[in-house]
Structures are given as structure tokens and as C-alpha cells.
């Protein structure tokens, strides 16, 4: 096979066993040059093991890892041009900022002048030109983050691995760092591989996201694809908020199905994912809150188009969060359904105990074979 040099990183059928446990099971992917790739999965899904194999701290049981088209199996970690930002950053506390960044260059045998220019360059690029002589303990959380990235980027790596580096930051800083990371990636034009269990981090920053579960890649795609066209029930449930029903197929008609949920609710949905559905099959149906329209009962019942799923219910509570406000509606079967609403603060707003009609299109009812 001709090695593809357009890809910074390729993994081919990687497996890793720990005893009888398959931590990483037959994972293949390729990351084109200069893109931001995230691996998103719940804790314990094997994403950290996968990253450690790319960095060289673990050896895969089988399969091949190629960096810039060259296999790195058997190459020790210090000879791979893959740098890593650790979960707790692992900045060296006994060195100051300058020494931390210069460490890698020293290991590579760069001359003093080269080191000085490169360190100052990279500090300039992360917009922290004045911190060279600070001790690590004198930096703020966000600054440490940037120094950890600079320490890797100064070595001009082919791939930068980031292992949930935002986990330790508080919420506000985390939001700011998400944007900053994306900007830094653009600026350095290096391939970033970002590992996280936080879907919003993955969706906001990535060009492509791989959803990982139980050691396998479930789906790889752009954030939009994963959100709107999940290929498996796990992806639909894991990415984004969603209402979920378990039920059985009562009728199949082309690409649409009629589903009766366990609580006795009837709705129409579109078939997604692999595997044909037949009458009597178990299904999981997913509807995102933003596709459900909640209107006060009686006011605009006629406006719902034909073929929509329509359910009556009563507002249980309002979850006010500015533009992302939601209502929790209890349907006749007693289940809670989430729907996005616009709350203007006026008298037309929904209030708890209001009777409401919920409607959504079958197209947005993603039905997977369970």
C-alpha cells in the first residue's frame, strides 16, 4: 500500500488487550493534515489508552500507527514527533517558564541562540511574552495551559495530542480556553488530536469527531453529521441532549415507522442507522428538545402540520436558562419530555401547570433498532 503522506496520523486496525480486557478494539482512522480531530467517549472507553499508544507509552497488541505515512511501531516515545499535553499538564515545577519550554529544544541539541529565539517566538505567539522568568507556581490556570501547549509547539510536532487538558479548569475559563485552543490550532496549523468526555468541547472545536465506546469507534464525522445524522443509538444518545423512548415497531412504511413506546405513546419516526426494521422489532427513538414545539393547548392547535407527532401534556416545570430555556412536560403516560421554548418574560410565556400541545416531525424522530 502506498503510504499516504497527506495524512498526519493514521491508525490501522489498532488493538490493545490488557489480559482479557479489550481496551481498544480494532480502531482505524486517519487524520488529514492540519485538522482538529477529537475523540469523544465516556470515561473508560479506551480513549486514553489509544492516545498513549499514539504517544508511544503503550504498545498496541496489533495494528499499525503511521505518522506522516511512516510506521512508528517500535519507535520509543522520545523519538516520535508527537507531543502531548497531559491532563494535569505536567509542567516541571522545578524549572521556570523559560526552562520548561527550552527543555525539549535542549534534548534535541539546539544551540543557545536558537533556543532563546524559539522560546521567545513561541511565547509571543501564545501572547504571553513577559512570563519567561516566572515560576510555574506563579501562573494562572489559563496561563499554565498555554505554556503546556507552547512547550510542545516549540518543537514543531507533526501531531499534538491533548488529553482532556481543560478538565481541571473552572467553567468560565474552560469556555474561554475552548475558543483559544481552536485559535491556537489555526495559528500553528498543526494537527491536534483532542481527547475528551465533554461533548461540547468536542463539538465546538473539532473539524472531525470520533465517537468511541467500549474500545470501538462508533462513528467518525463532522460535529454536524454526528448531531443530525447519528449512525447509531449510542451516538444519538451521547451527542447532544435528547428525549429517548424505547418501544416496538407497529408499522413500517418505506423509510418511516410507527412506534408504540413502552408507556403506550404512539409516534411516527424515520429509520436511522444500520439494520432494517420490521413489525414487532424493538426500537429506540430519539427526539432533540429543539425540534419539539410546545404551544399552549387550544391556542394554535390547528397550526400543526399534517403528519406531525402531536402529544398533549401539562407543564411540569420550567428550566430557565436565557436563550436555552426548556420546559419539562409530563405527558398522559406520566413520562417527562423536554422541549426548548422561547421565554420572553411576557404574559404569553408557559408556566408550570399549563396544558400544552407538543408537536414534532417524524423526520426528527430518529429511530434505531435496539
Amino acid at each position: 500500500m502506498q503510504p499516504n503522506t497527506e495524512n498526519d496520523l493514521e491508525c490501522i486496525r489498532i488493538q490493545k488487550h490488557f489480559g482479557s480486557v479489550r481496551a481498544v478494539d480494532d480502531v482505524s482512522f486517519e487524520i488529514p493534515k492540519g485538522s482538529f480531530f477529537s475523540i469523544l467517549g465516556p470515561s473508560g472507553c479506551g480513549k486514553t489508552t489509544l492516545m498513549r499508544m499514539i504517544a508511544g507509552f503503550e504498545q498496541p497488541s496489533s495494528g499499525d500507527i503511521r505518522i506522516k505515512g511512516k510506521s512508528v511501531i517500535g519507535t520509543p516515545p522520545n523519538r516520535r514527533n508527537v507531543k502531548m499535553v497531559f491532563q494535569h499538564l505536567a509542567l516541571f515545577p522545578m524549572m521556570n517558564v523559560y526552562e520548561n519550554i527550552a527543555y525539549g529544544l535542549r534534548c534535541a541539541g539546539a544551540s543557545k541562540d536558537v533556543i532563546r529565539t524559539k522560546v521567545h517566538d513561541v511565547l509571543e505567539r501564545i501572547s504571553l511574552p513577559d512570563v519567561a522568568n516566572r515560576e510555574i507556581s506563579q501562573l494562572s490556570g489559563g496561563q499554565k495551559q498555554r505554556i503546556a501547549i507552547a512547550r510542545c509547539m516549540v518543537l514543531d510536532p507533526d501531531v499534538l495530542l491533548l488529553d482532556e487538558p481543560l478538565g481541571a479548569l473552572d467553567l468560565k475559563l474552560r469556555e474561554a480556553m475552548k475558543i483559544e485552543l481552536k485559535l491556537l490550532q489555526h495559528q500553528f496549523d498543526t494537527t491536534f488530536v483532542y481527547i475528551t468526555h465533554d461533548q461540547s468541547e468536542a463539538l465546538v472545536m473539532s473539524d472531525n469527531v470520533a465517537i468511541m465506546n467500549q474500545g470501538k469507534f462508533v462513528q467518525i464525522g463532522t460535529p454536524q453529521e454526528l448531531y443530525h445524522n447519528p449512525s447509531a443509538a449510542f451516538v444519538a444518545g451521547f451527542v447532544g441532549d435528547t428525549n429517548r423512548w424505547a418501544g416496538r415497531v407497529t408499522r413500517v412504511e418505506g423509510n418511516t415507522v410507527e412506534v408504540e413506546t413502552e408507556a403506550g405513546l404512539a409516534m411516527r419516526g424515520s429509520i436511522r442507522g444500520a439494520g432494517a426494521l420490521g413489525v414487532g422489532d424493538k426500537v429506540s427513538a430519539f427526539v432533540r428538545p429543539e425540534f419539539i414545539t410546545a404551544t399552549k393547548a387550544g391556542t394554535s392547535a390547528g397550526q400543526t402540520g399534517t403528519g406531525q407527532n402531536v402529544i398533549d401534556g401539562r407543564v411540569d416545570s420550567i428550566l430557565f436558562n436565557g436563550a436555552n430555556s426548556r420546559v419539562l412536560v409530563r405527558d398522559r403516560a406520566g413520562e417527562l419530555i423536554e422541549a426548548d421554548v422561547v421565554l420572553t418574560g411576557g404574559p404569553q410565556d408557559l408556566k408550570p401547570k399549563d396544558d400544552v400541545t407538543l408537536s414534532w416531525s417524524p423526520e426528527q424522530t430518529m429511530s434505531f433498532k435496539a
Binding site: N78, F86, R106, C107, C152, L155
Partner: protein
């Protein structure tokens, strides 16, 4: 008001044992010794105040040679204990699994359950002319005549290293334990090889533990008496033996007290020099671990 008094009283009560210990057992005897060391014996039961005892020490080469010898051999013991103890501590803290760590630590502690004296006699059983090693060698046909392993410097140093190495391992394990494994991985990831990671990351990180272990080991070695005497015999010329001779054999308390203070001053000077050289302070080392 009442509350405040009770608080103060409990503070005093908590502090009292420590204060009593320091004052009664450390400060007062030392003051007494210092006073004795400044007395010159001019005639039986007549004393004059002066520095004669200290001057004697410097005038007689055998005395200060012994002190220098004790100091340098103690330094050698410290270095050997560090070289041997570091890999052991690294293994316990970083390589051994969580379950075996406790067992390994316990194994390091076991020698402490037996008194110094018994352990020294254990060495004697092994190393003397009719001891186990000598007779094994004869039995194996490697030597023809009994070999005496006791009463030389190498044996003294080996015995001392064995006695004190634990005090090197404990502070090293506790500092290395506090080091995040990802720090070492980051060292490799950024391009460092094994020796670089050891020299630039692990050792600088463990420096407080290294210095604190060295201080304790050096002080214990320089002030030890049993091991050098029992394993080194008359040839060991350990400075503590000189002090013992002055006090007990020659019944010259004045001179013995002066020697005691000279040993204290000498070891303090070495420790101070070591701290200056390594750029550490007492606060960052001994007080931390």
C-alpha cells in the same frame, strides 16, 4: 476572657512535653558540657577558665586526623547510601504496584526491629575468621586459610551503609511518591532519553528528599559508635571512640566535652556546606519530609 485563657492553657500543655524534652535533655546538658569543656585542669581538683582543651585538639594531629577521617568516611557512607538507596526508593515509589509497595516498605523497616548491637553481632558472625563466609569459601575451595573480613575500613563502611540506608530511603520514597508519573512521561515525550529525564527531571524534583536523607544519614554516621567499634575494632579510629576514651578511659571530662562540641561544630559545618552547594534550605528539605 475565659475562652482565651483555656485556649492559652491548652497551648501551653501541648507545648510542654516538647519544651521539657528540649530544655531538660538537650539544652541543659549541652550548657553543662560546654561549661566543662572550657575548664582547664591545672592541678588535681583545681580548674581555670580557658580554651586549653580546644587548643589541645588542634595541637595533636591524631585528634584532628581522626575527626577528618570520620568526616570523610561519613561522607563516603552518605554517598554510597544515596547511590544504593535511590534505585530502591525509585522502585518502591514508582515501579512497584500499590499492593507490593507496603510490603516492600515494611521489609526496609524490619532491620529496625532488632537493636543495633544485635545486628552488629550478626555481621560479626558472618564475617569473622571462623565465620560463615570464611568457612564457606574454604569449603568451596576458593581459599586455603581462614580469611578475616572484620577490622578493616571496607567492612566498617559496609556496616554503616547497611545501618543507615533506611533513613535515606524513607525521605526519598516520600518525595518521589509525590511526583506525578506524567511528569516523567512528559520528559520522554518532549524528546528526553533515560539519562536526560533522570538528570533534568527526576533528580531535581527529588532534591529536597535527597538533601534531607543525606543530612540525616551523615549526622547518624558521624555520631555512630557501635558499628565502627564492633566491625572496625581498634583500627577504626572513629571520632566518637576518641570522645568515649576521653570520658571513660582517661576520665578527662573536660577534653571529652570539648571533643563533643568539636564534632557537633564539624558536622553542622558540613551540613551547612552541603545545603549551600545544593541550593536547598533546611525548611525545604528536613522540615518538609
Amino acid at each position: 476572657m475565659m475562652q482565651k485563657d483555656i485556649k492559652r492553657l491548652s497551648l501551653i500543655l501541648l507545648f510542654a512535653p516538647f519544651a521539657l524534652w528540649i530544655v531538660l535533655l538537650i539544652v541543659l546538658p549541652h550548657l553543662g558540657m560546654f561549661y566543662i569543656s572550657l575548664r582547664e585542669k591545672v592541678a588535681p581538683r583545681t580548674y581555670e577558665f580557658g580554651l586549653e582543651n580546644y587548643i589541645n585538639f588542634f595541637a595533636e594531629p591524631i585528634y584532628w586526623n581522626t575527626l577528618i577521617r570520620t568526616g570523610s568516611m561519613s561522607l563516603l557512607v552518605t554517598v554510597l547510601a544515596l547511590l544504593l538507596g535511590f534505585p530502591i526508593a525509585y522502585y518502591i515509589a514508582k515501579i512497584a504496584g500499590h499492593r507490593s509497595r507496603g510490603a516492600l516498605f515494611l521489609m526496609c523497616l524490619i532491620p529496625l526491629w532488632v537493636s543495633d548491637l544485635i545486628r552488629a553481632f550478626g555481621w560479626i558472625l558472618l564475617l569473622r575468621e571462623t565465620g560463615i563466609i570464611s568457612s564457606s569459601l574454604q569449603w568451596a575451595g576458593l581459599v586455603n586459610t581462614p580469611v578475616e573480613f572484620l577490622y578493616n575500613d571496607a567492612t566498617v563502611i559496609m556496616g554503616l551503609v547497611y545501618t543507615v540506608i533506611l533513613f535515606m530511603i524513607v525521605p526519598l520514597v516520600s518525595t518521589l511518591d509525590g511526583m506525578d508519573d506524567s511528569m516523567i512521561e512528559a520528559g520522554y515525550n518532549l524528546g528526553g532519553n533515560g539519562p536526560t529525564v533522570l538528570r533534568r527531571i527526576i533528580i531535581p524534583y527529588a532534591m529536597p528528599g535527597i538533601v534531607s536523607g543525606c543530612i540525616v544519614v551523615f549526622m547518624l554516621t558521624a555520631g555512630s559508635y557501635l558499628t565502627p567499634i564492633l566491625l572496625g575494632g581498634k583500627n577504626s579510629s572513629w571520632f566518637t571512640e576518641q570522645i568515649y576514651d576521653q570520658f571513660i578511659t582517661r576520665y578527662n571530662w573536660e577534653s571529652g566535652a570539648a571533643f563533643g562540641f568539636l564534632l557537633l561544630a564539624f558536622t553542622s559545618l558540613v551540613v551547612w556546606g552541603g545545603l549551600k552547594l545544593s541550593g536547598q534550605t533546611l525548611n525545604s528539605t528536613v522540615a518538609r519530609s
